[in-house]
């Protein structure tokens, strides 16, 4: 019509036999192959699948690669920020330091009271400054009645910047101070101010002191390290830092992963299985049995979940400070199956009406065969999706209960109990909370996204639900 086309006479000869148009050109894929193809297109789901695999490797292989006792306490390196390798200096046991006193013979500079301007003092470090001790001494100041010692993390700009003093000397004769208070391998700024009693000097001396990590000979002996004072030794690294008892957080996170993922995966597996059986039976038989079974399931759903989790724990006689992994598992299973049962029942009810099931039934297949051979396999996709969504739910429950002290209790690490311990020092050493919390979040996220992806891939009809 549009383009000028003038067919020749020969074109009007009958056409040859045409092949059937409805032969399927695409290769036919099984349900699972097809689902896998579709999952692979979904980038988010694929990434989350890798995340889940990564988490499993972290949990199972991690402790082999990172062979560090998660329960080993090291009170010399508590609440350490993440660090890789550290060396420490062996030092003799500190002993008692005499300090520096002004000679008896020399006269004390006169105390001039408020009128005098008190000059700066010169600050010396005695010996090596290590995390064991820092020993300071200084020149006497005219008019000083005693001295105030300040320690800061930064160079103080003015007297107001100093904050509260670390300590003070009792008399003007004491010209030294030993600091052994929670020393970390970092740079401190020590400041000495002479005080005339009522007024303090506006001038002051500040010295930056870099501390080296050190362990004493007796500490080394405790840890079976060969000790020669003055030598250095490689100390274990803490990639995730340490907690408030100096335990290695990486090792604890791995061990916690085992606990959290065990609860998070074992419980859903069991209750999904239970739900599948219950829902399958209920849906298959239908009628009165179904009505009764579903009434009961609805009843269990109506129970306040977390309160019952706590009741179960108390019923098992588990006090505070004790780990109730097993009761938690039991409670999770007993309280969570009904949702799965409802979903499976709905699916089975639908399947019951399908032709192939009807046919099998007419052929005299027995119920167990029908349920397990026909219905469950056809419900598998839905079950898998339900399972994937149940896992983050269980992990969250574990974290929640352990966090409020109702689940896994210290010293057993789980991500929840570690968060519980970590949140206490959240403001000073956030890494103690952030590492376990990060793992909870990533796990929950990964399983949720994987669940979304699976749901979309397995059945596009399921997508509209939610």
């Amino acid at each position: 019509m549009n383009k000028a086309f003038a067919p020749a006479l020969a074109d009007f000869a009958p056409a040859p036999a045409r092949q059937k148009m409805d032969t399927i050109s695409r290769p036919s894929l099984s349900y699972w192959q097809d689902a896998w193809q579709r999952l692979k297109i979904n980038k988010r789901a694929l990434v989350s699948l890798y995340l889940v695999l990564g988490l499993l490797i972290f949990t199972l292989l991690g402790p082999i690669l990172w062979n560090y006792d998660p329960a080993l306490q090291d009170l010399d390196s508590i609440s350490q920020a993440p660090s890789f390798s550290t060396t420490a200096l062996f030092v003799d046991d500190p002993g008692i330091w005499e300090g520096v006193l002004l000679q008896e013979s020399s006269t004390l500079p006169p105390v001039t009271g408020q009128s005098a301007v008190l000059g700066a003092t010169r600050l010396n470090i005695e010996g090596t400054a290590t995390t064991q001790y820092v020993r300071l001494s200084w020149e006497p100041v005219e008019g000083g009645a005693y001295y105030l010692v300040y320690r800061n993390d930064h160079q103080p700009e003015s007297a107001e910047d100093l904050g509260l003093p670390l300590g003070q000397t009792l008399t003007a004769r004491e010209l030294s101070f030993e600091d052994r208070l929670q020393l970390q391998p970092q740079t401190y700024y020590y400041t000495i101010i002479a005080s005339g009693g009522l007024r303090e000097a506006s001038d002051f001396a500040t010295e930056a002191v870099e501390l080296e990590r050190a362990i004493t000979v007796s500490q080394a002996l405790e840890r079976n390290l060969p000790a020669t004072p003055g030598t250095r030794v490689e100390l274990s690294a803490h990639p995730f830092g340490t907690d408030y008892l100096g335990r290695d957080l990486l090792a604890r996170t791995m061990m916690g992963a085992q606990v959290s993922l065990f609860i998070g995966i074992a419980a859903p597996f069991i209750f999904v299985l239970l739900g599948v059986i219950y829902g399958g039976v209920s849906g298959y038989f239908g009628g009165k049995i179904d009505l009764l079974m579903m009434r009961f399931a609805e009843f269990v759903i109506a129970l306040p979940f977390l309160l019952f989790m706590i009741l179960f724990r108390i019923g098992f006689g588990i006090g505070p400070g004790e780990s109730g992994i097993f009761p938690m598992l039991v409670a999770l299973v007993l309280l969570s199956w009904p949702n799965v049962a409802r979903i499976v029942r709905g699916q089975v009810l639908q399947l019951r009406e399908e032709a192939f099931v009807q046919a099998a039934r007419l052929l005299g297949a027995n119920p167990a065969y029908l349920i397990f051979r026909h219905m469950i396999p056809n419900t598998m996709g839905l079950i898998l999706v339900t399972l994937t969504f149940a896992i983050p739910m269980a992990i969250f429950t574990e974290a929640f209960l352990s966090f409020i002290g109702m689940g896994v209790a210290p010293p057993t690490p789980s991500w929840g109990s570690m968060s519980n311990e970590g949140i206490r020092s959240m403001l000073s050493t956030p890494h103690e909370l952030l590492f376990p919390a990060f793992f909870i979040s990533v796990t929950v996220l990964a399983f949720n996204l994987l669940g979304d992806g699976l749901r979309d891939a397995l059945d596009s009809r399921m997508r509209s639900r939610e």
């Binding site: 067919p7 020749a8 006479l9 009007f12 009958p14 148009m21 409805d22």
Partner: protein, 340 residues
């Protein structure tokens, strides 16, 4: 012709595509038809041939994306309505162009009373206040033969039966006295007696209000009963147009012939019901030549690679058999079919 348009609606060279993951679906390809004023044009064809897409693109109801109107024009009483912005289009649809759908239950808002759903149109298009609108609503419900309109108007869709809902749909689409009513399979979901009632209602309304109707259906029985003109669609194209007599007694396209043969009411008990073998082509990659080539008994070499133009004017057929060079005996054979 006088200055008054002869046609209520004139569609030319309409083409619609959908972009999907699997590729581009050419759902409607070069469709043209004319709806004479005060008459009914039936569009028939197999499921998936593009009937709904055709009329929905006129109403601006194609979801975009994935849909796209790639070409064409549609003149409603001489005014272009295709590809208008929503605000402009809203001056036509619901007001001068009404539409009813197949599944009335899902086509009505489940949480709004029937009365409010009808009144809404009046309030929006005819600037009525709620009270006057409701008076009109009751009249409309009475017009479409719904008993107890006052009580019914206050009910929700799920309290109605399917046939009643279709009447409600009709009342709603006629609220603003449109010139053209598009009915997309209005009776497919209904049983035969209700179907007859609805069709009668539509015919009465057409006579009373001078309505022009586009009626989409699979059912040639409905076509015979309602239509003045017919357009037969196949694989996104109109393959034959003509008056109802042209189509039924002088079909000139092999597909139309096949369609008629597949119609049960045309057969006596002994005659076997012949279905057209094969299935429509994949619209992702429509065939280069005639869309019916793979299933056509009379196919010729030319049909494979060359899309046939429409032969004929008032009664047109998109088939090479009507070409002057085509062997006349085959044409005769195709037309000699028992149903013709």
């Amino acid at each position: 012709m006088t200055s008054v348009n002869q046609y209520a609606l004139e569609v030319n060279n309409l083409a619609v595509e959908f972009t999907t993951y699997g590729g581009t679906v050419k759902a409607v390809r070069d469709v043209s038809f004319k709806l004479r004023k005060g008459t009914t044009l039936a569009i028939v064809g197999e499921s998936g041939c593009g009937k709904s897409v055709t009329v929905q693109s006129l109403m601006g109801l194609i979801p975009m994306p994935p849909g796209k109107i790639t070409s064409g024009s549609a003149l409603l009483d001489g005014e272009e309505i295709l590809g208008l912005k929503t605000e402009r289009l809203n001056q036509y649809r619901g007001k001068r162009l009404g539409m009813i759908f197949q599944d009335a239950m899902s086509a009505l808002n489940p949480t709004m009373t029937i009365g409010n759903q009808i009144a809404e149109t009046l309030i929006v298009h005819r600037a009525m206040d709620k009270k006057t609108a409701w008076v009109e609503v009751l009249e409309l419900l009475a017009l479409t033969q719904i008993s107890e309109p006052a009580r019914r108007a206050r009910q929700y869709p799920f309290e109605f039966s399917g046939g009643m809902l279709q009447r409600v749909m009709i009342a709603m689409s006629l609220a603003c006295k449109p010139d053209v009513l598009i009915a997309d399979e209005p009776t497919t979901a209904l049983d035969v007696t209700i179907q007859a009632q609805i069709l009668n209602l539509l015919r009465n309304l057409q006579e009373k209000q001078g309505l022009s109707i586009i009626l989409i259906t699979h059912d040639l029985g409905v076509v015979a009963r309602m239509a003045h003109d017919v357009a037969v669609m196949y694989a996104g194209q109109i393959v034959e147009t003509g008056s109802v007599d042209d189509i039924f007694y002088r079909s000139s396209h092999p597909y139309t012939v096949g369609l008629k043969e597949a119609m049960p009411s045309n057969k006596t008990v002994e005659q076997e019901l012949r279905v057209i073998a094969g299935s429509p082509p994949d619209l992702f990659a429509p065939p280069e030549g005639c869309g019916f080539y793979a299933r056509c008994m009379y196919a010729m070499k030319v049909c494979e690679k060359n899309s046939p133009p429409i032969f004929g004017n008032h009664h047109g057929a998109r088939c090479w058999l009507h070409h002057a060079n085509a062997p006349a005996h085959i044409l005769q054979q195709s037309l000699k079919d028992p149903t013709n």
